[in-house]
């Protein structure tokens, strides 16, 4: 067994002015050369555990710290953070905040300069680090010019240049589109396998963690729940779900098969392991009662109509090119595409935040450019990614009343609508609290409640699940479903495609400012070429189905682990 590179011994930690221990009795060894995955729901203590490895916890934050953390021969409490930075490289979640220089080469040089590495050595290490993350030729660029995935790879390069013994990545892909996330995982995997770099990565991406990690440590409420190989951890489906964690979809499919009575000797957690096992099952007679749900076609006059929409930014970037689509009342529409595909630009035209260079956008037959943004707010509600930028008032109630007062409703109407919104979103008990004192998930509900009070016909959710764990993301999507069922037209923009089969009916796939595909969700998620052309990848259950359809063309285009299990369960067992 390889030697441990870092050791936690009986570590407990409490932040200043906090009543609870965020880490409790942690005993853990990180082995030389391994890829250790760190999973756990929001608030489990993952970030604190990462920060304890370079001494930022407790040296920077203070608080009560018990036990010891050693990296190499150094105790993280006894040695200054700057000394620990030689051994431990760290990459954070937000690509914007962690890049501090104004050129790529200076970003990489910054920690080396702080560590007093001679100029000649820095000059040698900058190209080496850039080559390791495949960013050669970008030395003189401003980090702002890079894409999200490139920014995270630059942050990795800056950490690598120090030649640390341990590289920590804390949710490095949570704010990236699928192609950016894939770039980061591929880079980290290569560093681990080719250079032998020891990796500790915290992430909610279950499929990738199952594929790349050697071991997984599972944290909940500051304690280690389990430690083991991905096959051991991700096959504990019920326990994962109980702890607000999402298992890989292949594991989930086999779990459902087992639950329906089919003998499954072992739950696979990776796609290549699952394919042959499922192929055996697929040869049996499938459930004859299984019917693919028919796509839900909504008819009627368009509520929102886009015709030949082209938009060119002042710097000459063509963001939209001849886009046409109609959105009907009561639809649940999903808009997908890589970053820069034109999704947000399109939606901003709905709200008159941008005006078309050519073409027209109409809401109930009225040209949006002839309406003010505040007038449109009556009809179209917009929930942005970061709830904190949408909160301006000192109580939840005032936050919900804010829009109504702007729209000049009389006091009785304001009160009635506010009460209705508070009840619908389950916010009655916290109506007098300051919104910013509430947890992130509740803050998102406050913003949705404030928008709902305006009773718009259409509600747009723009990346609502970014930065949320599985439970938080599901909670927000459930609200969107309730609103849809109450008759609202819902438009969602998200990269988290695995969440959507339960909710969306129609999918718009965008790429390079054009509309690549407009289909029901089943057709769209199985349109491999269209998704690939905008650097998207369908959820794992869809990939699994597609693999089975290669050898058996009668295998239906399924979307979810539940559908796979349902289809493969014989009638006798299904009944």
């Amino acid at each position: 067994m390889p030697k441990p590179i870092a050791i936690f011994e009986d570590v407990s930690y409490q932040y200043p002015r906090s009543e609870k221990f965020v880490l409790f009795d942690i005993n853990l060894e990180i082995r030389q050369g391994e890829f250790l995955g760190l999973i756990g729901p929001t608030g489990a203590g993952k970030t604190t555990l990462c920060l304890a490895l370079n001494g930022i916890v407790p040296q920077f934050y203070g608080g009560r710290f018990f036990g010891s953390v050693r990296v190499g021969d150094l105790d993280t409490v006894e040695h200054p953070i700057s000394e620990m930075a030689r051994l431990v490289g760290q990459v954070f979640e937000d690509p914007e905040t962690q890049l501090i220089a104004t050129s790529v080469e200076n970003e990489i040089a910054f920690p080396l300069e702080n560590l007093k590495i001679p100029r000649q050595v820095i000059r040698e290490r900058v190209p080496q680090a850039l080559s390791a993350v495949r960013l050669e030729g970008t030395e003189r660029k401003h980090p702002h010019e890079l894409s999200g995935g490139q920014k995270q790879r630059l942050a990795i390069a800056a950490a690598l240049a120090v030649q640390p013994r341990l590289l920590i990545l804390d949710e490095p892909t949570s704010q990236l589109d699928p192609v950016g996330a894939e770039e980061v995982f591929a880079t980290v995997h290569e560093l681990n396998r080719v250079l032998g770099m020891t990796i500790l990565m915290a992430s909610h991406s279950a499929e990738e963690m199952a594929q790349f990690a050697d071991r997984i440590v599972w944290l909940a409420h500051g304690e280690i729940v389990a430690l083991g190989a991905p096959d051991e951890i991700y096959s504990e489906i019920e326990l994962l779900i109980k702890n607000d964690l999402r298992p890989p979809q292949v594991a989930s499919a086999f779990f459902h098969l087992r639950k329906s009575g089919i003998a499954v000797p072992k739950i696979p957690v990776r796609l290549p392991d699952a394919i042959p096992m499922l192929a055996d099952l697929a040869r049996r007679e499938p459930n004859p009662d299984f019917d693919l749900p028919a796509p839900n076609k909504v008819t009627g006059d368009p509520l929102l109509s886009v015709k030949d929409l082209t938009y060119i930014y002042p710097d000459g970037t063509k963001a939209l090119q001849g886009v046409s689509l109609d959105i009907r009342e009561g639809e649940y529409l999903l808009i997908i595409g890589q970053n820069g595909a034109g999704k947000s630009t399109l939606v901003k035209h709905f709200l008159n935040l941008l005006q078309p260079t050519a073409g027209v956008v109409k809401v109930r037959g009225a040209d949006t450019t002839e309406m003010s943004v505040s007038e449109l707010a009556h009809r179209i509600g917009y929930v942005a990614q970061n709830p904190d930028n949408q909160i301006f008032n000192s109580s939840v109630r005032a936050e919900i009343e804010f829009a109504l007062e702007n729209l000049d409703f009389d006091p009785e109407e304001v009160e009635a609508r506010t009460n209705e919104s508070l009840e619908t979103l389950g916010l009655v008990d916290v109506q007098d609290r300051h919104p910013l004192s509430l947890p992130r998930g509740v803050r998102a509900r406050v913003v949705i409640g404030a928008i709902l009070a305006m009773r718009p016909d259409i509600i747009i959710f723009d990346e609502p699940t970014t930065g949320q764990d599985y439970r938080g993301a599901q909670y927000i999507m459930d609200i969107s479903r309730d609103l849809h069922q109450a008759g609202k037209t819902i438009i969602v923009i998200t990269h988290h495609l695995y969440l959507m089969p339960e909710y969306a009916q129609r999918v718009i796939v965008m790429g390079k400012g054009t509309l690549l595909l407009d289909q029901d969700i089943r057709t769209a998620f199985h349109a491999r070429e269209a998704l690939r052309s905008t650097f998207l990848s369908a959820p794992q259950a869809v990939h699994l189905t597609q693999e089975l359809r290669r050898s058996n063309e009668n295998f239906p285009p399924l979307l979810t682990p539940e559908e796979i299990a349902d289809y493969l369960t014989p009638r006798r067992m299904a009944s």
Partner: protein, 284 residues
């Protein structure tokens, strides 16, 4: 929107070290403070404006500064025209207010201000102060926008400014655009909640902007703590005992600029003392 920018144009000026540019700023500030002549101040302000445009500072930026500052400049000129008597009299050696040239007198019947008058002398002193302020406003972007931020840090450190201060200075410039973006997204979120800025008067608008402060300050605090954690993880301690990837060496063009501004300072002082050029009421 007013925010930090680095000019895209490569020029003689953008290739200079930051230290001679700092020296230039210092000399121009001294001379601008010393001169009291509206004509020379106008010449200086016009030269600096043209220099800004020549090195690539965007006209849109200068126009925004002028738009924002115009009410302040007008107030300055009018205040001097109506109320600055003692100073202009002393500067010109007048013994009586009768020697001042009147432009306009308020009718005696007007309450409070009736009988008050504006003078040419006060007005020209006001213009002097206005151009002085414009020069001082534009000379900073002339130096800062033409320098890459990292070169600025190295230049400041070589000019014996403590590294920590140089770093804070550069971080502020780095985070300005982020704060402006955040400000814009908060205002946008308010408009999407039915707020109709276009229908509001100035006082209501100020109230709206005040509400932006809460999420903006909170966001800035979160970001600054994140930044501190990032810096710590990158071994930043603020100690000047560090190495630098880029060297900061003065070349002949840098020395030439230093020599030019040294001569300019000497000449300006000489002309002021001997020929009273630059003095208020002097020959120019």
């Amino acid at each position: 929107m007013l925010k930090f920018q680095t000019v895209e144009r490569d020029s003689f000026f953008s290739r200079l070290d930051f230290r001679p540019k700092l020296y230039m700023v210092a000399i121009l500030t001294i001379v601008t403070f010393a001169w009291e002549s509206p004509l020379l101040q106008f010449g200086m302000a016009a030269t600096i404006t043209l220099a800004c445009l020549a090195v690539g500072v965007k006209w849109g930026y200068i126009r925004t500064i002028l738009l924002v500052m115009t009410p302040f400049y007008l107030l300055l000129v009018l205040t001097h025209a109506f109320f600055n008597r003692d100073q202009v009299m002393a500067l010109q050696g007048y013994s009586s207010a009768e020697q001042l040239q009147k432009i306009y007198t308020f009718p005696e019947s007007w309450p409070v201000i009736g009988g008050g008058y504006a003078t040419w002398d006060g007005l020209s002193y006001g213009l002097n102060v206005m151009f002085k302020a414009l020069t001082l406003t534009l000379v900073v972007p002339l130096a800062v926008f033409t320098t890459e931020v990292n070169n600025m840090i190295v230049g400041l450190v070589r000019a014996r400014i403590p590294y920590k201060i140089a770093f804070i200075f550069s971080s502020t410039l780095r985070f300005f655009p982020l704060l402006f973006e955040e400000f814009a997204s908060i205002i946008e979120a308010q408009r999407l909640r039915g707020l109709s800025l276009e229908k509001m008067g100035p006082i209501q608008r100020v109230r709206v902007y005040a509400k932006v402060a809460v999420p903006l300050i909170l966001g800035a605090m979160v970001k600054s703590q994140q930044l501190e954690v990032v810096l710590q993880s990158k071994a930043f301690s603020g100690s000047p005992d560090r190495t630098y990837l880029h060297e900061s060496t003065l070349k002949s063009a840098d020395y030439a600029l230093i020599a030019f501004f040294t001569l300019f300072l000497i000449l300006a002082i000489y002309l002021m003392i001997v020929y009273k050029i630059g003095n208020f009421g002097g020959p120019i």
